[in-house]
Amino acid sequence: MASVAAGERPTRPPAIVRPRREGTATWPLADRICHALCWAVGVGLCVITIAIVVFMLVKGITYLRPKLFIEHPAPAGPGAQAKSGGFLDPIVGTFIVTAIGIAIAAPAGIGLATWLNEYGRPRWLARTVESAIEMIAGVPSIVLAIFGLVIFSRPFLAFLSQPGATVALSQSFIIAGIMMSLLALPLVFTATRESLTQLPPRLREASYALGKTRATTIRRVLLPSPQMRTGMATGVVLGMGRIIGDTAILTILLGSTLKNEAVGHVPVWGTLRGTGSTLTSYIYNNSPAGEGGAPQKAYAAAFLLLMSVLVLNAAVTRLTGGQGGATRLTRIGRRALLTGVGGNG
């Protein structure tokens, strides 16, 4: 920006000369072709994204009715969509699975990342844990689901689902939630670790120099710092997005009942032990690929799902100080931590 020196000097600012952008005209042909291709792929991606959103918006809003949010789903054959009810249960189901998954993944991921970064002894254990988490991050969710099936069908784990003929059913909200936590864990872990490594060392030094233990430093200084809060929240939100979007684990470990069916008579625990559906499994089961009972409602549910994931993405952008803009505290905190100069300094 050109700044005029002072108000009492009415001289006109000079015409500003800005550097001209480099053109591609002088590039070799191969570079120009590649440049054009990159450009085309970028534009193509935007088109696809917009197409998805617009398509889901049109389809979704066409079929979305307020009553869908309050009605229980009901099985309906082809051509009987009107009787197939709403998706109250899948919405509740999504909340339950996400809550269980993140309730396990958040403390575990934050704890592991902190231990690894601040203690990390013995070395071999730290390295092993790190590789293990990287591996979990790479395991396809269907593999996790099959693994969960093997584990939770043990008869002595029947209290988590319901007893079957010879083995436990191994399908319930709680089991799905537990396996879902493995999906979210690497995301929480990575975000927390990343923030920890970016904390300025002098924050730790300052605390150690006051005679504080590592544990106190972590609990009272590191984790409560704005940077860490942002990092951990980002991990948690990313993890939630991952859980909400997964289908494979639900297909195998939650069953294909549309309604949330409680087991036994204990109110909450019964529901957790029972089978049911979430938005993703509802979409799958109602789409032509599943039983095809109610494709229109699948579209409506898909729209809802898309919206919730978009909201979570926006939350991440906001948290990490993207276009959404960070909060004042985060901005001040980050700048001060990075430069060591105060907010007004």
């Binding site: 120099a209 006051l210 504080k212 001040i332 905190g333 105060g342």
Partner: protein, 306 residues
């Protein structure tokens, strides 16, 4: 660098007795009466009463410090006295900051740090004191102001809280007098006393550094270590902190590392000049600055003064 008047030292056989390379250590003179201290000095210096009854709190005795295979402090012996300010001066890489950090065992958080020789606090080897207890008795202020991203109150209260065996979570009303007292000692209370709940990060650099000093004082240490506390500050903030340091020496032993020779001259009672890990010269401010004995000291001081 400067051509040295002694040959570079060989890598150490630790604890070897170095008979012929004793650093010139002037015995601590009994402080002259009146303001004789200031009269001899050609440069402006804060006129102040001499440190009376300086008593030795820490003793650095034949200390070697290493990072990995690299010896950065070689056979340094110094007394740290309460009632006076000790300044460590020397070029970058002379080992003065490492020596300072070893006094509260902060060197230990760096991987590969090694040591030899003994450092005692009130006659007790500091490596036999529980490390966190030691760091509450020997606190440190760093080059860059490093307040915690919390309120002013919390920054100081943090040093008071969670003392082992003490109150884990003192209530605010219980902590407030001590917090305010620490801020007063650091000369910050008049500026921030009205609103202790402001974020510490909203303070100016000089205020932040005084907050860090308040935090370090809140733990009621016996020794205060200052690692170039003014190098990130403007001259006005620097002057405030220098006055503060001089005022503190009665209640705590102060060791200050500084690149600023004027500052060392202004605040210190005793000065130790280090070069490439060796203690070259130790004496009172006047001795070291006005009548240095070693050529390296002369070169450094005159070079730096221009």
């Amino acid at each position: 660098m400067d051509d040295l008047d002694t040959e570079p030292m060989l890598p150490p056989p630790i604890r070897r007795i170095e008979v012929d390379r004793e650093p010139h250590v002037a015995p601590a003179r009994p402080a002259p009466n009146g303001n004789g201290v200031a009269v001899a000095a050609p440069r402006p210096r804060n006129v102040r009463p001499p440190a009376l009854g300086a008593r030795e709190r820490m003793s650095i005795d034949g200390v070697w410090l290493a990072y990995g295979e690299n010896w950065v402090v070689r056979d340094v012996s110094l007394p740290v006295r309460q009632g006076e300010v000790l300044a460590l001066i020397g070029a970058s890489g002379s080992g003065k900051t490492t020596l300072l950090r070893s006094l509260n065992r902060l060197t230990e958080i760096t991987a590969g740090a090694g040591r030899a020789g003994s450092i005692t606090l009130d006659g007790q080897d500091i490596h036999e004191i529980e490390v966190n207890a030691l760091r509450r008795r020997v606190t440190m202020v760093f080059q860059q102001p490093n307040p915690f991203p919390m309120s002013i109150f919390e920054n100081v209260a943090y040093a008071l809280r969670e003392k082992p065996g003490g109150r884990r979570r003192g209530r605010r009303s219980q902590l407030e007098p001590a917090v305010r007292e620490a801020l007063r000692r650091a000369g910050l209370h008049d500026e921030v006393g009205e609103d202790l709940d402001r974020s510490a990060l909203a303070l100016s650099g000089g205020q932040q550094q005084r907050l860090c000093i308040a935090r370090a004082l809140a733990a009621e240490p016996e020794v205060l270590l200052l690692d170039e506390p003014c190098s990130a500050l403007d001259p006005i903030s620097t002057a405030v902190i220098e006055d503060l340091v001089i005022g503190l020496r009665e209640s705590v032993a102060v060791v200050i590392v500084t690149h600023n020779l004027q500052q060392a001259f202004r605040v210190a009672d005793h000065v130790a000049f280090m070069h490439l890990g060796e203690l070259v010269e130790y004496g009172t401010s006047e001795e070291v600055f006005d009548h240095p004995i070693q050529r390296r000291t002369r070169d450094y001081i005159s070079g730096a003064f221009g």
